[in-house]
Every structure is written in C-alpha cells, then in structure tokens.
Amino acid sequence: MAIVLPNSGYDVENTIALFAAVNRPQQLQRSLVERARDGSRTAFGELYEKYARMVHGLLLARVPHSEVEDMVQDVFLLAMRRLSSLRDERAFAGWLAMIARNQAIDYHRRAPKTAELEEGMLRANPPAPEAFKALDAVRELPEAYRETLVLRLVEGLTGPEIAEQTGLTPDSVRVNLHRGMKMLREKLEGRAAQ
C-alpha cells in the first residue's frame, strides 16, 4: 500500500524508489553525459533524442500544451548549462526529470492563465477537442499517476521505459499505471454519464 504525502501527490514508495534508481549503473548514459559535458553536440543530440519524450510528458502533465515544446528546449538548455554540477552521471535521467518538474512549477509562478483549448485550435492540424478533454481528465489525477499516464498514453513510452527514464522502480510504475488507469476510467465514465 502506498503512503501518500499530504498535498504532494507523491507517495513515499516512489520517492525511495527514485533515490534507489538514480544509483543504478547505466553505462551508455554515463558515456553520453560525459561527452556532452565535454562539449559534444552529437552526445547532446543523442541525450535529447533519448529523453525528450520523457521531459515533454512531465511538462505536459503540468503546463498548457501550447507551452510544452518551447519548455522542452528550455529544460535541455538549462540542463546542459548545469551539467558540470552533476556529480553522479548515472543520476542524469532523474536529475533531468527534476529540472523539468521545477520548470513547470516556475511556469505557474509567473505565467498568466491562458485558454489552452483555443491555442490548440489555432494550429494547422489541431488535435481533436476530445484529446484536450482526455488530457484534462488525466491532469486531474494525483501527480504520480498523472505523470505516469501521460508518459504512457501521450508520449507512448512503455512501463519499463518510464521506469528507466524517470528513475522510478518498475514496480512503482506498474502500480501507478494500474491505479491511474482505473481512476481515469472512472473519471471518463463519470463525464460521459453527465
């Protein structure tokens, strides 16, 4: 049973799992991080390709869709500037996720509220309005479930990929997916009934 901290949306299991996971050996990631730290733009590009969906998903779980693409770029640029301060390169994924979450928090501190649906509809090939409604339903879930479901349903990552990229244990991700999906289904059914 997960212990949920008040007003946080995180459960203690996930937090402990995060710290355990960041110490896992990840040889490929380590070498990419090392090379990026030394100024390799190729390595930076590979890190971007590998983790952009994760960062996008974490942001999309918190900020308007229209802001997310720019913020993904900002998160990576900020991470590269701070990369020399990362002592354990194996912790890169969890560290990058933390930067993304903090950027989302900063966004809400300074950004005026906007009508996301209208912005989305201004695009050349806008997503269906139902997509935004479904996303709204996901965003109403507790934060841990919200993040995991966005990464799974929107970004298309599998459970093992979510675990690897966010630093959560596979068991935590599995639990989050299962419980989150159950809660989402109830919400969607409730809305359909209205």
């Binding site: 030394d38 100024g39 733009r41 930076f44 590009g45 971007y48 390709e49 952009a52 969906r53 996008h56 998903g57 999309l60 869709h65 693409e69 993904v72 770029q73 990576f76 640029l77 590269m80 500037r81 020399s84 090939n125 997503p127 269906a128 139902e130 997509a131 935004f132 479904a134 996303l135 996901v138 799974r152 349903l153 929107v154 970004e155 298309g156 599998t158 459970g159 093992p160 599995r174 997916l177 299962h178 999906m181 989402l184 289904r185």
Partner: protein, 318 residues
C-alpha cells in the same frame, strides 16, 4: 483491462487503452532537432587552450625578464670565440688556446680570463661574489670592499682584500697567486697565508696554502719555499733561514707556524734578528705556540695590524 498491454504494449491490445493512445498521441512530443547548444565560451577546449597558452606566455615573459635582470657578470670577448654575453650564478666560461675574455661586475671589479681557462660562477650575493677556477689563468682587478670577492681553486680559496692579482691553476690543480696591488689571502680548512703586493704563494691539492714569498727574493729561497710546500723538506728550512732578507720576514712568520717543533726554534731566532721583538713576546712562548705572541710578531712586520686581518676573516663564509 489487459495489464500487459498497459505495461509494455505486449499481448492483445486493450481497446480502451488503445483508444486513449490514439486520441492523445497528437499531443505528444514531435521528434525534431535539439535546441542549438554550445559549451559556454570559457569551457570550450580551444578557449581553454588559448587561455593556458596566454598564461604560459605571460609567465614565460616574466621569467625571461627576471632571468635577464638577475645579477650577472658581463662578458666581453677580447679575442677568440667565447660566445656568451652574460655569466650568472651556475654559469661558466671556457676559453681555448686562441681566445680570451673579460668579465665585469660593476660593484665588484673586472676579471680577465686568459686562454685555456675554465671559470664558473658559484655565488652572486651582495656580500659574497665567488668564482671557481678549474684550470687556467685569471687576472683580477677588484674594487669591492675586502672580503667580498672569492675564487675557489682545487686546494684553497683566494680571498680578495682589495687588490689586483693573477691566479693560475695548472693541470695538477696546483694554484699560484701573484699579487700586484693590495693583499690576497689563501685559506683552506683553517690553514691560511697572507700574500702582500709583489709577493706570490702556491697552494697544492691535499696540502693547502703554502709559504708566501716576495718575487724578488733569491731563486734559492723561492726554490726552498716550493720544496717545503711540496713535502715539508727539512733541508729547505735551512735554506730559507739562510737566504732570508729582512724583507722576507713574512716568509719566516708563516714558516714559524708550520715547521716541526724541532725546527721552530731556529726559525724564531732568524725572525728575531730581522724584526724588533715586541715586549711580552718570549722565545718559549712562541715555541709553545702562543697565539697572542705570534700575532704580536706579525704586527712588527709593518704589514698591517692583526686586528685588521681578524676583521675580514670574521666575514669569511662559514
């Protein structure tokens, strides 16, 4: 709900999950180029290398300036091919059979380096300028205060006491100083010889400074002094005694301190004939090696007071 499909997309797709995936996928990340990013300018390898090179260049320039400003003897070529222009501490100059040079230091003096000579700089300090003569000949004209200019030879150091002199070291390491003006002292392990103008003195490896003698002394006396310096030849003592003029008392005074006790009496007797023995000095006292009495004898040679000698001796490097 198909848990496997929700977990890793394996197995039969769950229709509800699949429907949500299809609906939400357009909101997901669109693959594209990463943002333009470069290392900050101060972290780029080329910039770091450039900074390091600049720092090295600055340090190099500072070192060069300081190196060139170190005290050094100026070298002037008089004849032949010596190529150096400065002679700092640790440096050396060699001349062949056809070359000679002149080195100078404003606050010390000038040294002429004769052919077939090797000379090096051992110390350059305000109170000690020291050269080492391995072999060959130098002619020194020194205006530094007494006791500040030294030349090491294989068997003794020559201490300038304000003078002009020629110093030669042969291939066996035997040194010969000939003083033109002023005084030179030879010193080695407490054995010392004081050489006034127009006098000369040998110093031999393993034996140290010899008996100084005036160059206008008889050939027999000079030969006897050299024999005594070489092997403490006892017959030479007799020749020195018999050949001594009044002026040669300086040789007798040095001999007095080096002969065996058996010969010391007759050396003292000859010295006492040449000088006026001062009050308080007795034959027995001198025979017993009384230092004060021997100093008192020196004072009668009219070569300066012993206190003057003690003054510069106290300045010798330990």
């Amino acid at each position: 709900m198909n848990e496997d499909y929700l977990w890793d997309k394996s197995g039969e797709p769950d229709p509800e999950v699949q429907q949500l995936e299809n609906l939400l996928a357009p909101l997901g990340h669109k693959p594209g180029k990463p943002p333009a990013w470069r290392l900050p300018i101060w972290r780029r390898p080329a910039v770091i290398l450039a900074i390091a090179a600049s720092v090295l260049a600055i340090f190099g320039a500072v070192w060069m300036v300081r190196h060139n400003n170190r005290p050094a003897w100026h070298v002037a070529v008089v004849e032949g091919t010596p190529s150096i222009t400065r002679l700092a501490k640790g440096g050396s100059i060699s001349t062949d059979a056809h070359s000679r040079a002149r080195i100078g230091l404003d606050e010390v003096g000038e040294v002429r380096v004769e052919p077939n000579t090797r000379l090096s700089v051992v110390a350059m300090q305000a109170d000690e300028h020291r050269l080492a003569l391995e072999h060959g000949t130098i002619h020194a004209l020194i205006w530094a205060p007494p006791g500040r200019f030294f030349v090491n030879t294989p068997s003794a150091q020559a201490v300038d006491l304000g003078c002009e002199y020629t110093l030669n070291v042969d291939e066996k390491g035997v040194g010969l100083v000939r003083v033109s003006v002023g005084w030179v002292a030879f010193e080695n392990n407490g054995r010392e010889s004081f050489i006034p103008a127009t006098a000369a003195c040998l110093t031999r490896p393993g034996k140290g400074p010899g008996i100084p003698y005036y160059e206008d002394a008889s050939a027999a006396l000079i030969d006897a002094v050299h024999r005594f310096d070489g092997n403490a030849d006892q017959p030479a003592v007799g020749v020195i005694i018999s050949e001594t003029r009044t002026r040669d008392a300086i040789s007798l005074w040095h001999l007095l301190r080096r002969v065996s006790p058996a010969d010391r009496g007759r050396v003292y007797d000859r010295l006492a004939q040449s000088i006026a023995v001062p009050p308080g000095v007795t034959r027995d006292g001198v025979m017993a090696g009384d230092a004060k009495m021997i100093d008192a004898l020196w004072d009668t040679l009219d070569l300066g007071n012993t206190s003057w000698w003690r003054m510069w001796k106290s300045r010798l490097p330990k």
